[in-house]
Symmetry: none
Subunit: 209 residues, 4 copies
Amino acid sequence: MARPINEEKRQERRSRILEEAVVLFAENGYSNTTTALIAQGVGVTPGTIFQYFPSKEALFYAAVLEPLADIQAKSLACLKQEGTPSELIKNMVEEQFNHIYCYTNELRLVQYVLGQRIRFPELTQKVLESTKVMTDTIECVYAKGQLMGEFNKSFSPAMISRAYISLLNGVGLTLGKNIIHHPEWGNLKEHALYLFAPTQPKEKAREFE
Amino acid sequence: MARPINEEKRQERRSRILEEAVVLFAENGYSNTTTALIAQGVGVTPGTIFQYFPSKEALFYAAVLEPLADIQAKSLACLKQEGTPSELIKNMVEEQFNHIYCYTNELRLVQYVLGQRIRFPELTQKVLESTKVMTDTIECVYAKGQLMGEFNKSFSPAMISRAYISLLNGVGLTLGKNIIHHPEWGNLKEHALYLFAPTQPKEKAREFE
Amino acid sequence: MARPINEEKRQERRSRILEEAVVLFAENGYSNTTTALIAQGVGVTPGTIFQYFPSKEALFYAAVLEPLADIQAKSLACLKQEGTPSELIKNMVEEQFNHIYCYTNELRLVQYVLGQRIRFPELTQKVLESTKVMTDTIECVYAKGQLMGEFNKSFSPAMISRAYISLLNGVGLTLGKNIIHHPEWGNLKEHALYLFAPTQPKEKAREFE
Amino acid sequence: MARPINEEKRQERRSRILEEAVVLFAENGYSNTTTALIAQGVGVTPGTIFQYFPSKEALFYAAVLEPLADIQAKSLACLKQEGTPSELIKNMVEEQFNHIYCYTNELRLVQYVLGQRIRFPELTQKVLESTKVMTDTIECVYAKGQLMGEFNKSFSPAMISRAYISLLNGVGLTLGKNIIHHPEWGNLKEHALYLFAPTQPKEKAREFE
DNA sequence: TATGAATGAGTGTTCATTCAT
DNA sequence: GATGAATGAACACTCATTCAT
């Protein structure tokens, strides 16, 4: 009987540690983040960390992969709802550009890993696999959209999905904390959609002309 | 009395150290790169590094900023040649997408810094200043191009330049060593140009249809 | 939860480190004393030192100032007891000449600092402040003694206190480990008292004549 | 023919190095003084030092012993002039108290060595031998003075000479750069003489009463 | 289960000394 | 003779990890 409650507490504390780890690893990098600092942020003593994660490395892995899985799941969910391909893509772009804001640190961490592939080969591998699922799904939806005449047929779906993911990553990287409040933020999001070359962005386009 | 011009030799060795530093910092991050490793890579003993750079930090600064200045200079040169705005932009895109390949490590290093702004505030500042010069110049050329009817007038130049820089960064980040040989590489480069919404990509577009 | 009172153990170990540091700093100087050597002397590993003192410099400061405070307190106590000024001075001289023996290293350390004022400006400052309290008190007691006719009125108290402190320091410096067993030790101590020019050292003086 | 001139230049430069070394060793201690700093002070390059002294240690030895020999010679000369013992002693005190001012650094260096006997056993040995010559001579003169009735016969010459040397050392140590301008400086010098317990300081003493 | 003191290998940096020029 | 770049051993300090309490 006592167990379930304890188990709950354990999970809660584990989450707190992970949360703190994400922030600190993202801000300071792996080596420059001490386990003691993470512990301090969580409000526990240095030894405690090692009761939840076998090593600093394991904690880092979890800090990178667990949030990524969450984010991917949400993004994929957008593409698996009901709706025309162009609607799905639009929803996904919307969702992901919001992620950039909500999950800044989580995404930075992923980029941090991708930037140092040789250093973190195993993690890079997993992150790329996860990204591949994403691009594959986008490609699939996009190709369907092309067939339905919703997207310009002259572009290769593989290229389009890569270009979009690149833009998404680049936006997170180049823009600072206050992206959302940037005057160009809304336009940038729309331009991400433009990248997909939808066939009728006419109504929109006219407004500006 | 005074030794002749070994100033030349000094510069040469300094460059060798910087070069090695760029590679190792980019691959392993700041803390995980030991000065001894850099020295070893160059083929000198640990102490020698400090005859050329006062500290590891100073070496890192130089490794980030000096190549960046080079790259920026080359990119800006493209935009200041003779030609119509659309030609200039096209040249720049061409030039920069090649940079991604030649200067992989140099660019990764810049992204590494931007990913950890709190950790490297001074460097971030300088990198952003450097980037601003770039985006400002692009904006300027782009606006001129819009007036001349070469680009779609419905997009804000500020947004366009940001979107392009983001894409550029994202491409460097998401794609691996062998980008150039990737089947989609050529298409991706063209799509970067498409992002600028030129008004006559017609001839091209037709080919694929 | 919180461990009980190992505060006691901490203090004990801190004292052991300080003690060892005093000995080694006094014998070898600051730079030539490695923290590893101190650790070894205490019987702990190098890292442990830094759990008790934030830096080698801080340890040095403590090694200089803490014992000095102790010694000063004991000396001042002599001058604040009941008794005529000449009795107080006599007690103090007695007490301090014994200190030279017991606290050889502690005093050497103080002299080491005073000898390198430019190198240790902050410490010098504090040591001089501490010394000033001592000379001021001696002056005060001495002046009272002069008024009561116990000391020769022709000498300035400020000069006398300085001369005494100088002699005391010089004795510590010039004489070696085995001062106490030196045949002139007893006489030297008495001569320190003679320096104060008491008006009735007659009985004593006669003995020798 | 060319040789003598070069030899002269060599000696001059050697002296300059030694001079600079005395100042820096006295101010910063042995380990904290780099040979490069000495070289810089002299205005030569690091390697040059080693053309005049085989090692840093040898330079230190010379910096301690050579000036000491000078000072001792001058002091001893005072005691070997014509005159009554009390006159000789008086001259010597005068001479030495001036040394404290002129040779601050040279004397500090000697005290620095004496404070770290275990670290510099050989040097300590030589310094003590040199000091012994001094105290022995003083004892000798003092004893003669006692026989002639110039000094109080109740004090042991051995003790008196030690007390004086101690005071001398202590004065150099406790007082700062501006001793000479200190209001008590003159009185202090006189009190050093008082320490010898001359039999007719009466005229002086009366003045103050 | 949490604690937090101890560990000890690892890193940036310094510096006396050498030696080719 | 003077130079000054290179050397490489040494040291202060850090930090992931352990373990007795």
